[in-house]
Amino acid sequence: MFASTAICMTDTTLESSNDDSPIETTAERVRLCVVRIAAEKKKSALAELMELMANRILHFAIKHVGDESLAREIVQDTLMAVWTKAASFDQDKAKATTWIFTIARNLCYDQGRKKLSRPQLVSAEDVYQDVYYQDSSGSQTSDSELDKEKILLLIEELSVEQRQVVNLVCIQDYSHADTANILQLPLGTVKSRLRLALAKLALIMKDKGFGYD
């Protein structure tokens, strides 16, 4: 328990990008939209993602399928796929923008073929493997899984605000910065709520005699 407590308290994914290029800024904004969609299915995050990506995907699709109305359908299907699959996307495997590009690319591959009546011997799903998703088998050790289950039981006794931060940081493994963004709180607030929550949890565990000193 203390090991995962320690991890909760340090921000291990410090995403301070020194590269302020417009592409990096846009990529980061897209990443945060995907994170917010994955965590809470926030409509405002989808709206922002549409503003950032819709035209860009449209231009790519037009270049590849040559038909504007088909390209619009591809934009819609791409954004729908992001909405439904964001929770399974694995941030460690690729940038969110790369993942979104591959969704659009696969749709163009399938739809472009249909439209031009080219032979569809193999579909995008056969040709392009889904490599950017989380392994369903999971790479967690059984120890940390047990810890997470215990935390889930214990956090019932916390206030709503404290439960929120513990859930996002300790169970869903979001960084402090991403948690602050999801909850629309200052980073300092997230850290102090987390500190208080964990201190309270420590007291609860001592009382309940979980065997931790």
Partner: protein, 233 residues
């Protein structure tokens, strides 16, 4: 073993989604068994995603894509839809095999359609066998080729491109030795004499007739168009 890989240009076209399904299937089969190309492909995808971001259409100018009303309607359509898990269309889990000389050789899933469309084995010359793939509708001639141990394909060059994916065993030519998963790409400038010491099963795709440059096979050249069966419409 030399190894043979698709070059960067081919990988980039694959990453973009602009290859036809025959060549795309070959590249996909190779990438599944080659860590280097798999890594290169990820890099290509990331770089193409960056190119997408370089498109500097003003972010708030939605007119080309969606008007304000359409924007809201579309937003609601996505967020209010019941997101059912997508049905997984599986082609069946039984692996497809090619049977040759008492062996059953498993074919990568992405190539199973070619095995399904293949006809019977036919002897070409000596130690060389050919199983034609028909009904694919692409502008290529596609064959499974089996070289028995000691078999060879007469020296030839190509009027177009030739793709050979090794499915089992290995073959060699003047430029190297190739094993399972290798994708050998040759074009009009390459002249070679493929041979196999231990036997080899390949999938071969050509977009123009071969041109034989030595021995009795040269006599076939005036008729080579008759032997070349493309399914271009």
């Amino acid at each position: 073993m030399t190894r043979a890989h698709p070059d960067n240009q081919l990988l980039k076209a694959f990453a973009e989604g602009s290859l036809d399904s025959v060549v795309a299937a070959l590249i996909s089969a190779h990438v599944s068994s080659c860590q280097n190309c798999s890594d290169s492909l990820r890099v290509q995808e990331a770089s193409l995603a960056d190119v997408l971001l370089e498109d500097d259409t003003p972010e708030n100018d939605l007119a080309p894509c969606l008007g304000k009303q359409d924007f809201d309607a579309f937003l609601n359509q996505i967020t209010l839809s019941e997101s059912k898990p997508e049905p997984i269309e599986s082609r069946g889990t039984a692996p497809v095999v090619i049977r040759v000389q008492g062996q059953s050789i498993e074919v990568p899933a992405v190539l199973s359609i070619f095995a399904e469309l293949a006809g019977r084995w036919q002897s070409v010359v000596g130690h060389l066998w050919q199983k034609a793939v028909s009904g694919h509708g692409s502008p290529y001639q596609i064959d499974f080729i089996y070289m028995e141990a000691g078999g060879t394909i007469p020296r030839h060059t190509h009027r177009g491109r030739e793709y050979t994916l090794v499915l089992q065993g290995c073959f060699s030519d003047e430029l190297g030795d190739y094993g399972v998963g290798d994708l050998v790409v040759r074009n009009g400038f390459d002249e070679h004499t493929p041979y196999s010491d231990e036997g080899c099963l390949c999938l071969a795709v050509i977009d123009a007739p071969l041109h034989f440059t030595a021995g009795l096979a040269r006599l076939l050249n005036p008729f080579s168009r008759l032997f070349f069966k493309s399914e271009a419409t």
